[in-house]
């Protein structure tokens, strides 16, 4: 069935590129946001360093890059959920069901499409980052990219689970938003998690975004993968559990 998987992935990628605004929206939107945010924060940092507080300049691209990576992943999840809902509603899944394709193959093909786009977005962002912050880009790109991919995969698997179950596209978008945006808010990117009440900390520790952010920050500041082994394990675990549940609860129609 591997042949079918690659063929489906390739076809879905082509279909996505044909979508009006598909490629532009996926690749250009995060890039524009990144450049815009970076310029704003750079301006702040420049003003700040003029009044002699110095470390913010190096920190500026740091959070923006992680936020951008996170947004790319969220974007991918939203679009995965929407596509699955549209396919389900339109009877496309039902038609695929009568073929030898398994739910896992169908979901995997869409995930690979999303990952390919994530990598492309990331490469564009890194290119932009190099131009905007020539001095600050001393992070290990490959390692960072690998961390983004692992994080995306884990976040995507949660999307899988939602995508497997949402009945219609009318439900898909709000459900996606309700689940995903709080996840970003609780990821520890905007405020430290230890400031939260204990129960919210527990919730946060079960979310893939939290571990993705921790891992990305670790890779960025040089503490490396070993220091964040628990986050890697958590991401892998979330991926495994969500994927298993998603294929089990997959609704064809």
């Amino acid at each position: 069935m591997l042949k079918g998987f690659w063929k489906l992935t390739w076809v879905e990628l082509k279909i996505f590129v044909r979508e009006p605004l598909g490629l532009a929206g996926t690749l250009a939107a995060p890039l524009l946001l990144f450049v815009l945010f970076s310029r704003l924060m750079k301006g702040d940092a420049d003003a700040a360093s003029a009044t002699a507080t110095s470390t913010t300049n190096a920190a500026a691209p740091f959070n923006v890059a992680i936020l951008a990576a996170l947004l790319i992943a969220i974007n991918a999840v939203m679009s995965l959920i929407a596509i699955m809902a549209i396919y389900r509603e339109g009877g496309i899944l039902k038609r695929l069901r009568a073929t030898p394709l398994s739910p896992l193959t169908i979901l995997s093909a869409h995930v690979v499409v999303k990952l390919v786009l994530t990598v492309l977005s990331l490469m564009l962002l890194i290119g932009a980052g190099k131009r905007l912050f020539p001095g600050a880009m001393t992070v290990p790109f490959v390692s960072f990219a690998a961390a983004v991919l692992l994080g995306s995969l884990s976040i995507l698997s949660l999307g899988f689970l939602i995508a497997s179950m949402v009945p219609t596209s009318r439900f898909a978008q709000p459900i996606g938003a309700v689940v995903l945006y709080p996840m970003v808010a609780l990821s520890g990117l905007f405020f430290p998690l230890r400031d939260l009440p204990t129960w919210l900390q527990v919730v946060a520790s079960a979310l893939p975004t939290t571990h993705a952010v921790a891992l990305l920050q670790g890779v960025w500041d040089g503490s490396g993968w070993q220091a964040h082994a628990s986050d890697v394990v958590a991401l892998a675990l979330i991926f495994a559990v969500c994927s298993a549940l998603a294929t089990r609860w997959f609704r064809w129609e």
Partner: protein, 305 residues
């Protein structure tokens, strides 16, 4: 006789408290076109989807090509071709891409280029699914159902919503499938379609098969009456035609005369009587009952009610 290709025994399926299929038993044999006919909501699609292995029955047993549609789903999917009612593909998938994708999913395939040509879709190879007309979409679905050279083809309401011309083209296609030795299991609520295509039909209502046989048998069994309509200026017809033994009913407006009777001999009897009495007729036609009449008689309502 060879064992049936499809065998359904006392199939039952319900959704919540709604009973979609109450009691369906039928057998489909190799090389025939078998039609499941009945109004919308009678349980046609549910029955078909249970046979295809897409739904789990609540009762009864099904075998297709000697396989259990549920337990042997993987093996069966290689050997059956399926077309769904209201099916769709990705809006922007191209015709050749869909065919190419489907072809990679199966172990044995036929030549896609040849298949498209046979279905009259050659010039639509590069067209996106969303740009195809209703008839073209249905032909593409037929192509997808045939790409792996299946032994049994399932067609659910294939021509619903098509214009008469596209419908006729699809009928030719289905007859072509049978000509290549395949077994076809179709559902339709169009009696004309069933009459034109099907070797045998089962009439289903409220989830139960109420009658089964060849269209001819069903008509002969339930609607044996024949009607002859002719025009003549001859004035004292009635007294001269009264001696037709099979005649049951006549009506006349003075010019157009309608005679009803039963049995295959009736039409011949009328012709002979007209000849015997040297009656000049300007126009003569026979009206035979159709499956539609059978349906009306059996259920007490029309199929579209």
């Amino acid at each position: 006789m060879a064992p049936p290709v499809i065998s359904v025994r006392q199939l039952r399926k319900q959704y919540g408290t709604t009973i979609a299929v109450a009691d369906v038993s039928l057998e489909v044999f190799e090389g025939e076109i078998f039609g499941l006919i009945g109004p919308n909501g009678a349980g046609k699609t549910t029955t078909m989807e249970c046979v295809e292995g897409l739904r789990t029955p609540d009762g009864g047993s099904i075998t297709v090509l000697g396989l259990d549609p549920h337990r042997d789903a993987t093996a069966l999917r290689q050997r059956i071709g399926v077309q769904h009612q209201d099916a769709h593909l990705q809006k922007r998938i191209k015709v050749w891409e869909a065919l190419d994708l489907w072809a990679t999913l199966y172990e044995r395939t036929v030549d896609g280029v040849d298949l498209l040509a046979r279905l009259g879709l050659s010039d639509k190879r590069d067209a996106k699914f969303m740009t195809l007309s209703g008839g073209q979409k249905q032909r593409l679905f037929v192509a997808l159902a045939l790409i792996h050279d299946p032994d049994v083809v399932f067609l659910d309401e294939l021509t619903t919503g098509l214009d008469p011309q596209a419908r006729r083209a699809i009928w030719e296609l289905i007859l072509g499938i049978r000509a290549r030795g395949k077994t076809v299991f179709l559902t339709t609520h169009l009696m004309e379609e069933a009459e034109r295509l099907c070797d045998r039909v089962a009439i289903i209502e409220h989830g139960t098969v109420i009658e089964m046989g060849t269209p001819r048998q069903l008509v002969a069994r339930h609607c044996p009456e024949r009607r002859v309509v002719f025009s003549s200026d001859d004035h004292n017809l009635a007294t001269r035609l009264i001696d037709i033994p099979t005649l049951r009913l006549t009506s006349s407006d003075g010019v157009t005369h309608m005679l009803s009777g039963e049995g295959d001999a009736f039409v011949t009897d009328v012709i002979q009587a007209i000849a015997r009495h040297d009656i000049r007729v300007r126009d003569f036609r026979t009206e035979l009952p159709t499956l539609e009449d059978v349906f009306l008689k059996l259920t007490g309502h029309g199929i579209r009610d």
